[in-house]
Chain length 421, copies 4
Amino acid sequence: MSFEISEELIERHNRRLKPALDRGWAGFERELKRRGTNPQRLFLAARPFVVAVPSWGLAAGGTRFGRFPFPGEPRHLYEKLDDAATLHRLTRQNPTVSLHIPWDQTGNPAALRAYARQLGLSFDAMNSNTFQDQPGQKLSYKFGSLCHTDPAVRGQAVAHNLEVIEIGKKLGSRALSIWIGDGGNYPGQVHFRRAFDRYLESLEQIYAGLPRGWRLYLEHKPYEPAFYFTVNADWGASYLAASALGPKALCLVDLGHHLPGTNVEAVVARLIRQKKLGGFHFNDAQYGDDDLSAGSINPYRLFLVMNELQDAAQDPAVKNFHPAFLLDQSMNLKDPIEDLIQSTEALFRAFSKALLVNRPALHRCQEKNDPVMAEQILKQAFETDVTPLVQRVRFSNGGAIDPLALFRQSGYRPAKIKERG
Amino acid sequence: MSFEISEELIERHNRRLKPALDRGWAGFERELKRRGTNPQRLFLAARPFVVAVPSWGLAAGGTRFGRFPFPGEPRHLYEKLDDAATLHRLTRQNPTVSLHIPWDQTGNPAALRAYARQLGLSFDAMNSNTFQDQPGQKLSYKFGSLCHTDPAVRGQAVAHNLEVIEIGKKLGSRALSIWIGDGGNYPGQVHFRRAFDRYLESLEQIYAGLPRGWRLYLEHKPYEPAFYFTVNADWGASYLAASALGPKALCLVDLGHHLPGTNVEAVVARLIRQKKLGGFHFNDAQYGDDDLSAGSINPYRLFLVMNELQDAAQDPAVKNFHPAFLLDQSMNLKDPIEDLIQSTEALFRAFSKALLVNRPALHRCQEKNDPVMAEQILKQAFETDVTPLVQRVRFSNGGAIDPLALFRQSGYRPAKIKERG
Amino acid sequence: MSFEISEELIERHNRRLKPALDRGWAGFERELKRRGTNPQRLFLAARPFVVAVPSWGLAAGGTRFGRFPFPGEPRHLYEKLDDAATLHRLTRQNPTVSLHIPWDQTGNPAALRAYARQLGLSFDAMNSNTFQDQPGQKLSYKFGSLCHTDPAVRGQAVAHNLEVIEIGKKLGSRALSIWIGDGGNYPGQVHFRRAFDRYLESLEQIYAGLPRGWRLYLEHKPYEPAFYFTVNADWGASYLAASALGPKALCLVDLGHHLPGTNVEAVVARLIRQKKLGGFHFNDAQYGDDDLSAGSINPYRLFLVMNELQDAAQDPAVKNFHPAFLLDQSMNLKDPIEDLIQSTEALFRAFSKALLVNRPALHRCQEKNDPVMAEQILKQAFETDVTPLVQRVRFSNGGAIDPLALFRQSGYRPAKIKERG
Amino acid sequence: MSFEISEELIERHNRRLKPALDRGWAGFERELKRRGTNPQRLFLAARPFVVAVPSWGLAAGGTRFGRFPFPGEPRHLYEKLDDAATLHRLTRQNPTVSLHIPWDQTGNPAALRAYARQLGLSFDAMNSNTFQDQPGQKLSYKFGSLCHTDPAVRGQAVAHNLEVIEIGKKLGSRALSIWIGDGGNYPGQVHFRRAFDRYLESLEQIYAGLPRGWRLYLEHKPYEPAFYFTVNADWGASYLAASALGPKALCLVDLGHHLPGTNVEAVVARLIRQKKLGGFHFNDAQYGDDDLSAGSINPYRLFLVMNELQDAAQDPAVKNFHPAFLLDQSMNLKDPIEDLIQSTEALFRAFSKALLVNRPALHRCQEKNDPVMAEQILKQAFETDVTPLVQRVRFSNGGAIDPLALFRQSGYRPAKIKERG
């Protein structure tokens, strides 16, 4: 990549903002101590937070009514990695990229991996795509892929997933995420029970091809692109499938993939209890799968999800708990890098606030049925302004204290407009 | 009961309407033959249809904003049985009554059973109640029952369920339905995972007390009376519980207990596939758990649910498939007997239309992904006016050809107003 | 167009099915007379029913996850008109086509109009498009069109609408439908009140350009493509705008453009009462704006909408009541011609059943608060199998008795695959 | 009232917490100055904030499945006023009480008013009740009240409202809030257009009886207690009615009275634009009209509503803008006084944060379509921990720095349990 946000630029930026951060942190520290919280322990607990970014989230997304491209958009995967590296340089919280095959033309995986490594990036979960037809594809997914009535179509879809695993192995990935659109638009179109049988049968073949150390994430969604019936429509169906497959198969929760009113944090807790929570696609929504920036519509819900994760992380009875985090959003109007900076920060704020929850006190309130004080405990954590913590972690990790401001000042996008045309 | 709708009255009514019914049936028979359907076979398949009525559905229901009682309402369980017997005399499709303890004061069960038998009625599934406090109750269910943090409250709730089983045994019932309101109104109030642990632990004690030949039905509901979190909120949670318990535990689907947009017929199919569909609480809804008359808002959805049941019933791979049917509605504005006549007929229409579906042809369309013709097959069945079949079955079973009209003409309710005050 | 479904083919088809239709009609006639309904009057009332088809509904639609084209799809507007003509030849209920500019490249409007006339078609309402950017467009609609903060963008959008009117005038259209996606994805992005001010200001300029005898339809939608705020989000906003403009501005109701639970028929009644109901975009939905075939998910709702229209049509107090009908659906999986045949029939069934409602009796039940009998009256009409009426009207209009079957047998699509490649 | 939370107790409590508050405020002041905000001006702008409490919110609420009373609950209106006074003594932000007739037996209004005045309270908007039948009531509201088909029932409902105005005049109230449940449960039951005609006709009679200086608030709600159709179902219907009546009639927005997904803050903005926003019933909801504590489910939404109000309050083009605030919640599980302390604080936090919004900068971002920075401005305000401001305002008004803690320590409820039994 030609134009870069240099380390030096970041240092200069930080030098300017550091005094204010120090003052902010001092106040924050005092406040935490007043509450009996150890600030340094909080800092250490918060510091490792990271979240993956999706390659498809680095260019403009769109709706069925169109897509508004923007100048300076990356034109191919290498340029997307450039942008991801820029993001990570600013935040130090986005070290991995999740690819989507065949949207991402990986070409020579070894070269790609080397390029990423040089940028300080590595590869997160791989995503297969059998919800669209690709030019030259032999059989169509119009009426389904892993659940299609025709074994040849299912076979093609299984083979694609196995191929994605192969690419992933070469890239150093350790997981495959499967989201399918299989379902139907009209009553009568699909035989519900048989479609699920076929789903399991296809998944078993993919599961059998999982390399040692890999995980398989199954992602449910109630509707869209199918508007009447969806095979993996809810956590219950996803759980049935993951259980049938074995311990490497886990459920993936996309925050926007639920019907109106769903208590998503309770869904998360159910999957944790069943040892089947694999990870998250983070975003926010007002209506359906709106794919808005994480925390942009209901930041308290995001906090409550993080609260469940902390509850599990601190529960000795919950073993091997390492849910994967990915920002899966549609950048329809915002510059993707800016959106990802905002969203990473929103997640990190929610994560930090969940660390602030006085968990023993909360459990006592729960045991004695004191909803007022239980809520106060959550609200006190949520209402805390964690800006000093957020900035200090970023700074100490080598990122920018105010990455959004620095990104704008840096002239990165204008430079890319020139470079990329 | 003093005033009754006599057999003689029904006969007179039927005599008057029989010629029109015969003409209607003749036309219906011709139409079926034209389509290649055997009318007599259809008649025989439809004839055994029955649906239970709930004791609580024989008096006026209400909302949290009040209840409008109506004159001539039954004052106690014996009068409710009188009304249920009247209903059954008219429809011949409501031979069983489902009780709700302690709403129903059963007093001497043997006497009650004898009274019911004399009216031609018997007892369906028993319903326990741990979502309300009763006068004189030792511990409150304000903060839960089977899932309460206090083992003493859980013990009380378990004991109540075991007592309901005892009553049920004496009444000849064979099933216990459990719906609990356990959950919470505020984030933080309830620890999601532990609440489910306690739910299972309590259910295990009840399950252990199930007599031979009994079934345990678990009913899920997304919200109300708890408005933030509900322990058994969806089919997935219900399935987890029923699976943990054993083969006698099954899931009960109330059509109104789903979030907006839920494809209920697909939920039904999932539970069938998992061998965990126990039965139904039928009603209809526009918004939430509105408890309106079955088929009053979306009769096509009711048909699609029945279509799944017929699909399973005709599938040799589905064994021991005998889902229980109960009309669970809230009679806020209609005379309950009239509502139950309407609702029984709406169910029976949907059931009959599901029998009309050309299932082999439907399966062929599904296999070859022909949504247009698959839909046509369902629509042809749904658009058929099954009035002649509905009336002929009722007539041949000894009921009234037009039970609603006869009920109004009979003067039953005015007589009850005098008797009951 | 080369291959056509000839009059002769239709006649042969009808000759074969006529005897069965006659038998069906005779039975239907008997049944109506039994109920006191005049079959001939019903036939005459039903006969004029027509519904427009959208040019964009003649090719495959899609979702944001892709579009599955199908072989034999029309490649341009003239081929779309060929398909529309084929549809109309079969149904005789789709004489008009609604264009969408600039999706439809009208080229020489006079030639286009002549071509359509020769096919027996004319042009319905014109649709403008300011929710997408077109190649070569000067200013982008990414952040709005008629409501954009930049007056130059608003001016461009207004000019486009005026240009669409000009094209429409040449084509013989008499109405302009405006649907905009203007709104925002994030809190803070748009100033709600000012955006509405700008909407009105732009509409006023378009309204001023309406030719004599034209109508302006404003279409509301709660969300998509904007996922947080939409300027014309509901009937209330649409009504405010239509009232501010004047008598030629009316509201257009798309059945899928409402939040979950909305009682759409009540919305229709409100707009009728305010003299502002202009017309409909018909389709059906389970979740959001799913754009499924009309009547495919909830045919009773469709009937209830038609019931409101008949109630108004038969009410002497409602003047100048001529709502426009358009099928606005997304043909993602079905052959569009087949979908439109199904949807036209679903609409016509609902329309016919609404004619069957015993309106004086219904009004009496409403006056005396008898919900049971009011519902029986609606249900009796809805449960009537109007197939004989539907077929007889089509036959007497010169269409096919079973247009779907004939379309399949005709080999139309295979011929088009050859012709269109 | 016997046991009271004395001024002295509050002073002692404050003395203990004052040093920490001072430290907190100093930090808050520094932070505001850093941002260029004048802390004293903010303090003065926040200080007048008040919100009314409903008499019915001082006792336990319930659902249709029951009500869990709690010990120490007020037994009548005078005890409710005692509790309201206690609340206000702690918060100094709840000086007014809203009555509900006939739930509240006002007896001798002059004596009541004197009692309230002595407690430092006065009376907010009056609420009439025609959605329930009262013992001894002549005609039933089962099938409606202001919209009933029978003019005698409408007359009774109008007379009740006029009587409520009379009581209100004696109590010093200045507004009447009307919420009716009128509507229907089943298609066909109600004639939509005529029901609205009758609604307007009845409202006109009430409007004519409004004393000088009074306001009439019309409250919409999509469903419950009517589950199919509601006469005043949405802001559009409410606006039509308020417009038809005249300038004293305004719309009242209950945050929970909207369909899933509704952008409530945009509804608020629309009503402001139309000069018809009268006030609010504050509460929060996850599903339907859940009546949970304000800000307990989505505090960001509450902030966004307050943001619209501040936008209007600071807009010179918006005249006479004094929306009324009432906490309308159902205290099913929490002690009502604790709930009201929490809810008042949640509202005040949202109000304070809305004051913090850099409005000129926000408007600039809106004008130039910069959603990223517009969101940042809102988020910066929302993420600010306003605890020091909240506490300082309360303290300076004479309330308790931590009213919830003090309430618990005070032994108020235990004392009331003894007094009230």
